[in-house]
Amino acid sequence: MDINLIIFSGLAIVMIVAAIFAVTSSKIMRATTNLLFVLFGTAGLYFFLHYTFLGAVQITVYAGGIVVLFIFAVLLIGKGSVDVTQTSLRRYLAGMATALTGMILTIYLIGNTDFASDKFNGEGVAIKELGMALMGTDKYNYILPFEVMSVLLLACTVGAIMIARKK
């Protein structure tokens, strides 16, 4: 058996189990920790694709930033953060049925579609190439989305301060 496949299977099992705990655990702190495991697993998947910069961004922004934000929110909210009230069985079953139906349908479609996905070369993207593409102004370069993203982040910083500050 291929070593890549074994590592991928381990990663996939850890991610799926952590994701299930993240949406079913009754303590929000545990759910957040399990979300962290899913995000680290995703970074591992990016390293599998040889997208090392994307994996590093995933770890720093998602696992380092967003999870810390979540933990801050949970600690600030305190007592209200425990999911004390259980959902009704009917809603639970409805959610389960929807998710399972969608999952089975999607997996069936993935299995029956030819994606022409045999061009994987395992070289990844050179960081110089990526930097030129993000900052370039030619065709297939991304200076405009990059600048729009910086404006979005500025707006969201100002908006978050405005919303969260005391009157």
Binding site: A22, I66, A99, I107, L152
Partner: protein
């Protein structure tokens, strides 16, 4: 020897629908946000996988995945500010209490 693309797509589909399940069943704003993060994360995986396996010479999926992570960070910051504000006003983040705008 590399992993088939379908395995990664199936993994991201499973993560996405676990997020959907959490979104339908959780009754707490922070839990709903965690479910949303799971779904966004699954979408980012899909972008990166399609880029790596179908068009490795271009950068569209890679860059879109990067921007998706940025948008997720922005969305989480604003959402957590709103949740803290809601908690300050209602002393609860259970969505049963938040029905003033509903009717």
């Amino acid at each position: 020897m590399s992993i088939p693309a379908e395995y990664m797509l199936i993994l991201s589909a499973v993560l996405f629908f676990i997020g959907i399940f959490g979104f339908f069943t959780r009754r707490n704003l922070v839990s709903l946000l965690i479910s949303t993060e799971l779904m966004l994360n699954a979408v980012d995986i899909n972008f990166a996988v399609f880029n790596a396996y179908c068009r490795p010479e271009s950068l569209e999926g890679y860059v879109f995945s990067l921007f998706g992570i940025g948008v997720a960070a922005a969305e989480t910051a604003v959402a957590i500010a709103i949740i803290i504000n809601v908690y300050r006003n209602f002393h609860s983040i259970h969505i049963k209490r938040l029905r003033d705008l509903k009717h």
